[in-house]
Assembly symmetry: C2
Homo-oligomer: 359 residues x 2
């Protein structure tokens, strides 16, 4: 049976994307409103598996680039997806057959559903991360050797830029600077590829995974327990937000969050460091979890994930760490998304090992 991204599916998707967003990827509340409105006006988009599409069909991965703190206030005009699709088709001379979230995390997991419903195309059940990461080339397409260019960027005013850069790192640098000029965020189509290429270059099934996570949370009397069961995650600490340091600059949010344990965790102090996403969880100088594994800050009551731009002093939260897709634990994966890729001077250790050592 066809899976439609209708309102119930979008609501579940939004909760799941928030959890997989590890704090980043954009606020799912706004993403849900936009996707729901599009589904009402234009009919819901269809979710398809790669294997349901012809091998030579063209997939357009897409999403927001910029600082989530900005994106919650700087809303699109709604037509950006059409503009990106049209221009991409014009410069490549090929028809786009389906949209795909470049990252499933945060509102970036919802945006392709919103645009696909406006354009009348399906959404592929896959993404380039299985989570959210801050930088353009931190995607499985990069690992698979798919070129990021032509990288098409547009803003709500109607400006459009095509980057044909010599590397993913140069796309990141140039597109980030443009997003900063646009006020801190913009939207893009990137790493255009065929279905054939996408089979070995994406994390598959992540849209339906996010929907399942959201549905499990909604169905359970104890959503936190349901979420932990659905994700196989580890609760690192439960407590309250004791300090937030957050700044928006050069197209990123950076900062840190301190969480003071309560209840069984009284006396403990966990520090999260972030660049759009939560990157590292530290306790008394010891790494409890780090990228590329997922670290999400959840409302202790509802288990809903709180994006980095909405974390506030006094919130009662539980920090959940989840294992990343295995591709990120390979040497090439760690090279672009491990702790050292973010400037940390320590080697990655899988969450499961850290958890068994620390507790």
């Amino acid at each position: 049976m066809k899976q439609l991204l209708d309102e119930p599916a979008l609501r579940a998707l939004a909760r799941g994307c928030a959890v997989l967003g590890t704090g980043g990827g954009g606020d799912t509340r706004i993403g849900l409103l936009q996707a729901t409105q599009a589904a009402q006006e234009f009919g819901p988009a269809e979710l398809v598996d790669l294997d349901e599409l012809p091998s030579d069909a063209v997939i357009m991965p897409c999403g927001v680039i910029g600082a989530p703190t900005v994106a919650i206030e700087k809303i699109g005009n709604g037509n950006e997806g059409v503009v990106l699709r049209d221009h991409l088709e014009q410069i490549t001379g090929r028809k786009v057959a389906a949209l795909m979230p470049a990252e499933i995390g945060g509102s970036n997991g919802l945006l392709p559903a919103c645009w696909a419903s406006r354009i009348g195309l399906p959404v592929v059940d896959a993404d380039g991360m299985g989570r959210a990461f801050p930088e353009v080339p931190q995607v499985t397409m990069q690992l698979a050797g798919i070129p990021p260019s032509p990288y098409v960027l547009t803003d709500e005013r109607g400006n459009l830029i095509v980057f044909r850069a010599i590397s993913g790192a140069w796309v990141e640098r140039l597109a980030r600077a443009a997003a900063a000029e646009f006020g801190g965020s913009a939207v893009a189509a990137e790493y255009t590829m065929t279905v054939e290429q996408a089979r070995g270059a994406t994390v598959r099934g992540t849209v339906s995974l996010a929907i399942r996570i959201g549905e499990a949370m909604a169905a359970a009397a104890d959503p936190m327990a349901a979420l932990i069961a659905a994700t196989g995650g580890f609760a690192l600490v439960s407590g309250k937000v004791a300090d937030v340091e957050r700044r928006t600059a050069k197209g990123f949010v950076r900062g840190s969050v301190m969480i003071e344990g309560l209840g069984a965790d009284t006396g403990r102090l966990l520090r999260l460091e972030l660049q759009n996403e939560n990157l590292v969880a530290l306790e008394q100088g010891t790494v409890r979890a780090s990228a590329p594994d997922l670290i999400s800050v959840l409302d202790s009551e509802t288990a809903d994930a709180i994006p980095t731009e909405r974390v506030r002093y006094g919130q009662r939260v539980t920090v959940l760490a989840m294992a990343c897709d295995p591709i990120w634990r390979t040497p090439p994966g760690l090279q672009i998304a491990g702790p050292r890729a973010f400037g940390y001077d320590f080697d990655y250790a899988p969450l499961e090992e850290l958890a068994s050592v620390n507790h």
Copy 2:
């Protein structure tokens, strides 16, 4: 008889472009070396009048964007002109018939000759300023309503960007940020137009004017007198450079230069303020000359213009002010290139009026 941009013509052109550059547009020494080498290897480019080309022929205005302080150390790979021409033809579907300096001032007046000789195309005897200005939309094409987009930017590494912005101001903002990411400078093709459009959208005859200025200087026993005669300029002061304040940031050079009068001008102190180009000349709080009129700092011995990035303490210099093309003195011209366009809180007065009041 056809005018060829051969070595003698290029040498004269370089001297003329330096004077018309009002300090900016890039160091002509490097531009001359590049253009001469290209003329030797590929044969000299031909200089043509607009009326020698078919009305529907496509003209590619081009030049460097960025800070001249950077451009003297960050040299192109030589092939950028070919890359720009090829990509422009690809995205517009039209053949480029001739190159044109976007600005005649500085090395930007020479670069099209260099590229044209490599590509095998002529150079149009016109430009978009009759001088040099710091910002992208400060061109007569903007005044004539020619769109700046597609604005194609490339660097020596092979990165390429196409900007399709909603205004000249947005191109300036976005392309400047990209040039800054590239290390402070890049090269671009912009305001592509037909010969028919160019007739009412350019300052005509400026390449041959620059050559005539250079030839007059070379032929004269007193090059300063020859230059003043050739340009109708006013010597504002002769003296020595007493102070230089110059910083390179965000793709521009900004700062100021103090000149202490010597000889007949002893006791006088002239201050130049600059943004790539010399914008304003002040003496005891009184404006002696301002953009859009031209202000050039000349070596008092040779009359050669000294670009802003080479002005140094102790140099013996004469400051020459020259009337700009009449189009810049119209209300739309002053709006984009008058003192207020650069943030100064005074109205423009023509150089000739200021000179008659002050002396």
